[in-house]
């Protein structure tokens, strides 16, 4: 007996589930990277008894490095999967409506997340080494990755508002 998931859910539901998984991974990645970026931009020496913002800045950034790499790769792979459907089901209607700038911002997202993927090996290495010579590079690589992640997250959200899979 052949099993097909489409006997139980519609095609649109299938792609919507994948998109939501992609979005949830992105939320986790965004949170981890934002914590880490803030911790290197505004480090605190003593978090005990501090307020929310100070505790937000006081995380141990190194503990996030591997999780960020894994989340970035997983989010990227999920995005690459749904990109197939996006190209025909979402992008073409957006182009037909003439939303060229909206589409352009998504194309830029695709470039930034790929460049970010390439940065990950160095990012991981910089966080796994505590040598002072790596401090500046570690800080700015993290901040750039966080900026790319924020851009990607917001543009993905906007695109889904313009035309989702459902």
């Amino acid at each position: 007996m052949d099993f097909s998931i489409f006997d139980y859910i519609t095609v649109n539901t299938f792609w919507t589930i994948l998109f939501i998984a992609h979005a949830l991974l992105a939320v986790a990645l965004l949170g981890a990277l934002t914590h880490q970026a803030v911790s290197v931009l505004m480090p605190v020496r003593q978090a005990a008894g501090a307020n929310f913002v100070t505790r937000f800045r006081a995380v141990q950034g190194a503990g996030y490095a591997t999780a960020v790499c894994v989340l970035w790769v997983l989010t990227f792979l999920m995005g690459a999967w749904i990109y197939v459907k996006y190209r025909t089901y979402v992008r073409i209607p957006i182009e037909n409506r003439g939303y060229w700038k909206t589409q352009g911002t998504f194309e830029l997202k695709e470039h930034l997340v790929t460049i970010g993927l390439g940065m990950l090996p160095a990012y991981w290495y910089l966080w796994k080494n505590k040598a002072p010579e790596y401090g500046s590079a570690r800080k700015w690589v993290t901040v750039v990755l966080a900026a790319f992640c924020w851009y990607a997250f917001l543009i993905g959200h906007i695109l889904n508002n313009v035309r989702g899979f459902g």
């Binding site: 197939v84 060229w100 940065m119 160095a122 966080w127 401090g135 800080k139």
Partner: protein, 134 residues
């Protein structure tokens, strides 16, 4: 095991002790060269059109290299091809770099790891000019 160190005035970084992998000079060379090369190669792939393959999402067809859309087969996608080109070239270049003496590879400025991606943003923005001016 965690340790804490002051890397620059006012910057406290807590990090695990170095693992054997993270302490290796060859690994350092590989990851630094890989990340720098990946940014450069991906930008070149986009600007010069170097996908390793072209994907036709409506039909599932794959073609080697750069291919134009086929009649009645919908759009084409180059991005997957660019990613694969970038991954292969960066891996080969980084692997070759590990055979270069460490005193040479140590001279690669680490600020290029973040500066090149930042410089890539306006270039990629410019490459999308068709979208901004339609």
């Amino acid at each position: 095991m965690s340790t804490e160190t002051v890397t620059s005035p006012g910057t406290v970084v807590s990090a695990p002790a170095r693992s054997a992998v993270a302490a290796s000079a060859r690994v350092r060379t590989f990851v630094v060269v890989f990340s720098i090369t990946a940014t450069v190669v991906y930008v070149l792939c986009d600007l010069l059109g170097w996908p390793l393959f072209t994907y036709h999402p409506a039909t599932g067809r794959l073609e080697w290299g750069y291919a134009l859309p086929r009649r009645n087969e919908g759009p084409v996608m180059y991005w997957y091809g660019w990613v694969l080109t970038t991954a292969i070239v960066s891996t080969v270049v980084a692997a070759l770099a590990t055979f270069v003496p460490e005193n040479v590879t140590r001279r690669i400025p680490l600020f290029t790891l973040w500066l090149l991606p930042v410089l890539a943003v306006p270039i990629m923005f410019w490459s999308l000019m068709n979208f901004w001016t339609k």
